[in-house]
């Protein structure tokens, strides 16, 4: 079931009403049934994978709780790792590795038909396997006591607001919330609805509108001018941000209405002043997952320099692969790893350049330049993320170096599939988003999690958002981009 569907418009209020009139002791069962139904609306049989993952991790957690000896606990951790990563590999990566192996062998003049599997990628598989896995690792490390209530644990794995595209929650945060009784709180419900509204605006007004333009340009790059491809790349940066952060807002808002707090997943990432800051603001739940469960176990930065760089690159390559079974994603991750590596080794030089030009004396200028440069590095990497192949990505980049910046070139921007009216609406809505995000950078991060939004004009803001969705939304039931991950 998509958040942006009529089915959800019926499902959500029904669930909320029943949830609040139901006694606390039955709520976990009701939410679990609702979550499973939510997932089954997509493809019922794939629910089995979630149940398998849930049962194995539940069992591993209980067993790890019974033994104090690290070696014996490790056995159950391996079981959890094997099961979750096995499911993920089989359904997401098997064909990718198979075709890559075939292509590699062909280079060596060995023609071998590696097997290919004809199955659909289960929606949200990367999200729920990582969430479930984090529980097993936390129990293994002793950071979390095992959850003995199977129903509540199953709900933790399948909680419908964040089941298919995150935020990837941690058991230490979410599981205890299911145990505590929640009551209807007006302020919290309104705050949740408001966040959902903002998420829908980002998805329906901005992301889905930009998608029309972006899909045409990136799917047929050979038919468009460099300027069109450049515009499409800028549009994609905002499309993916609005699509994914919009989903997160709806998820967090939905959970908040019911009285549960999910972690913040985005914090105005395009206002980052460096790539490392970008990763503290973009898909925070995934970045912290990789930090806690991969980067730090690898040694983090408390190792020899070469090993530190290796750790960084390894984490970003895996992160790229997590996003999709395609070399374009691996390259995208590698590019971000390279950015961080370069930013570390050029730190001194950049400091000297800033001192030479006395940029540090004007903090606003320094900040603006940093934000613009960071944004464009991120933009460059998005080309690889969105392109259908590495060849396409390089072709697009090549085309973008041959821009016709004349008036005729500007008129040559192909907006046939969008139309000028929609093109203008798209640009204005991006501007509106940037302004709102800029205002939100002025708010302390912790206050973003509180229920009150700053500003005396919030009611007007809500009306503007609501009617923008009604009149200017694109209602073509487009799936969220991150569902595929």
């Amino acid at each position: 079931m998509l958040f942006n569907s009529f089915e959800f418009a019926v499902f959500f209020p029904t669930v909320i009403i029943l949830f609040f009139i139901m006694p606390h002791r039955f709520r976990w069962a009701f939410l679990l049934a609702a979550s499973y139904y939510f997932y089954m609306c997509w493809k019922a049989e794939y629910l089995v994978l979630i149940i398998i993952s849930t049962l194995i991790d539940y069992f591993a957690g209980i067993q790890m709780g019974k033994v104090a000896e690290q070696r014996k606990r490790k056995k159950y951790l391996y079981l959890s790792l094997l099961a979750n990563l096995g499911i993920l590999f089989s359904f997401k990566y098997a064909n990718f590795f198979s075709t890559s192996l075939r292509a590699g062998l062909e280079q060596l003049n060995i023609f071998y038909e590696t097997p290919l599997f004809d199955w659909l990628l289960p929606v949200g598989i990367s999200f729920y396997t990582f969430q479930s896995l984090s529980y097993s690792i936390d129990v293994y490390r002793g950071e979390k006591t095992p959850e003995y209530h199977l129903g509540r644990f199953a709900l933790y794995v399948a909680f419908f607001p964040q089941l298919v595209a995150g935020p990837i929650e941690r058991s230490v945060r979410l599981l205890p919330q299911f145990e505590k009784p929640v009551t209807f709180q007006y302020e919290r419900v309104v705050s949740g609805l408001r966040l959902m509204l903002w998420g829908f605006f980002k998805k329906l007004v901005i992301a889905d509108r930009l998608a029309i333009y972006v899909n045409e340009a990136f799917n047929y790059p050979g038919e468009h001018s460099g300027l069109t491809l450049l515009v499409a790349t800028y549009f994609f940066a905002f499309q993916i941000y609005c699509d994914f952060s919009g989903y997160s807002d709806i998820a967090i808002g939905t959970a908040r209405v019911m009285g549960y707090d999910l972690m913040l997943n985005f914090r105005q990432p395009y206002f980052s002043k460096s790539i490392s800051e970008f990763w503290k603001r973009w898909h925070i739940s995934l970045s912290t997952w990789f930090k806690d469960y991969l980067y730090i176990p690898l040694g983090g930065n408390r190792v020899a320099k070469w090993r530190w760089y290796y750790n960084l690159m390894a984490v970003f390559l895996v992160s790229g692969l997590w996003h999709g079974a395609n070399w374009t994603f691996v390259l995208w991750g590698g590019l971000h790893g390279a950015y961080l590596f370069i930013s570390i080794i050029t730190a001194d030089i950049r400091k000297r350049i800033r001192a030479f030009f006395r940029i540090d004396r004007v903090p606003a200028l320094k900040r603006t330049i940093s934000v613009i440069i960071t944004f464009h590095f991120v933009l460059l990497a998005w080309v690889f993320f969105r392109a259908n192949s590495i060849g396409d990505a390089f072709f697009i980049l090549q085309q973008m170096t041959m821009l016709d910046l004349s008036w005729a070139g500007f008129l040559d921007i192909n907006i046939e599939n969008l139309g000028w009216g929609e093109f203008i609406i798209a640009c204005l809505s991006i501007l509106f988003l940037v302004v709102v995000d800029w205002f939100e950078t002025k708010i302390k991060p912790e206050s973003l999690q509180t229920y009150k939004r700053a500003g005396s004009l919030k009611l007007v803001f809500d009306y503007v958002i609501l009617f923008s969705i009604i009149f200017f939304g694109v209602f073509e039931h487009t799936e969220f981009i991150y569902f595929q991950f």
């Binding site: 007006y186 009216g421 009604i470 009149f471 939304g473 209602f475």
Partner: protein, 339 residues
């Protein structure tokens, strides 16, 4: 708590005010709302729907009523049927899907009391939601209960916005004057047919590998027609309605070039589905893609529409088939002419 109730109650009021305001902000003959929805339709525009639905109101009873998309209004030439003494009306309109056809039929069937209803089933409309046609009809026809029902059947916020806009126009009487525009190369013929005469005759290569075919005529890639249950259910509804009104229905598919057909990966499945519906209601289904009456090279205007010669040949073949099935009587003068 009362604040949130007030907020929700205020939504419909503000919504109506905004619809009214947007209706009056016009750019290039489109309201602000139309501009924001990729709605290509303008009043009195392409497809001659405005003229057609003005005409039908005082057209009188007919022998045959045609329904369908551009494959209907650009195909069934009323004049060719008049030669057989048949009075026909072509109620086709741009991108009209069975869903749209049903509500149009419901509205107008008593106006024209057809003996026969011919529903053209072009594969290209069976996987559409009917929104584009709804825009056209809501823009070019008066507000009606059937339009409201159509909006609910489509169940899209865009359709709801459009029908509310139409209702506000209807209630306030504020509507821009509509005049049918003329388009070069096309002419409206009394009875609903639109004649397309090529300004520059195109030659359709038979060979789908021919470079000209690839660039000018072929659909971009192989495609599967996703038969929407919604549209199939409306084919059923049309056939039931026709039967209730003591008329007879015929399902027809206008031929498309061989190459176009070859690029529909599941054409057989589509045909099988339509055949099963036709059998269920005991109505003929005439798929002219099986009749081999047209030349892919010579009889098409573009990738799927007929050119004037194609129209003439196709209608002649259809009439011949209808005569053969004793659906219409052969006209003596025509038989002579044909001989």
């Amino acid at each position: 708590m009362s604040r949130i109730i007030k907020f929700f109650l205020s939504i419909p009021v503000i919504y109506l005010v905004l619809v009214f305001v947007f209706l009056n902000i016009r750019f290039q003959n489109k309201s602000l709302m139309d501009l924001s929805t990729r709605n290509p339709v303008v009043a009195g525009g392409f497809g001659h729907s405005f003229q057609r639905f003005q005409e039908i109101q005082h057209y009188g009873d007919v022998d045959i009523l045609f329904l369908g998309s551009s494959h209907a209004y650009r195909t069934f030439d009323n004049r060719l049927y008049a030669d057989y003494g048949l009075k026909t009306f072509n109620m086709g309109s741009p991108n009209q899907t069975p869903l749209n056809s049903y509500y149009l039929l419901k509205k107008h069937i008593d106006d024209v009391n057809p003996k026969w209803v011919i529903l053209e089933l072009y594969t290209g409309v069976l996987d559409r939601d009917g929104l584009e046609s709804f825009y056209d009809l809501a823009t070019n026809t008066p507000f009606s209960q059937e339009l409201v029902e159509m909006a609910f059947a489509i169940n899209s916020p865009h359709a709801y916005n459009k029908i509310v806009e139409k209702w506000v126009q209807h209630v306030t009487g504020i509507a821009p004057p509509v005049k049918q525009k003329d388009f070069s190369g096309e002419a409206y013929v009394a009875g609903g047919y639109v004649e397309y005469s090529q300004s520059k005759p195109k030659i359709m290569p038979v060979d789908m590998q021919h470079p000209n075919y690839q660039t000018e005529f072929a659909p971009e890639e192989m495609r599967e027609v996703e038969l929407l249950d919604l549209q199939i259910s409306y084919v059923h509804k049309i056939l039931k309605l026709v039967s209730q009104k003591n008329a007879r229905a015929i399902l027809v598919t206008q031929p498309v070039p061989q190459a176009y057909l070859a690029q529909i990966s599941n054409y057989e499945e589509v045909e099988k589905t339509i055949n099963s519906i036709a059998s269920l209601y005991d109505v003929p289904y005439l798929d002219f893609n099986k009749y081999n009456v047209l030349d892919s090279y010579l009889h098409f205007e573009d990738s799927d529409h007929l050119n004037p010669e194609g129209v003439r040949r196709f209608n002649r073949a259809l009439i011949k088939e209808l005569v053969k099935r004793n659906i219409i009587s052969p006209a003596k003068s025509i038989v002579k002419k044909e001989d």
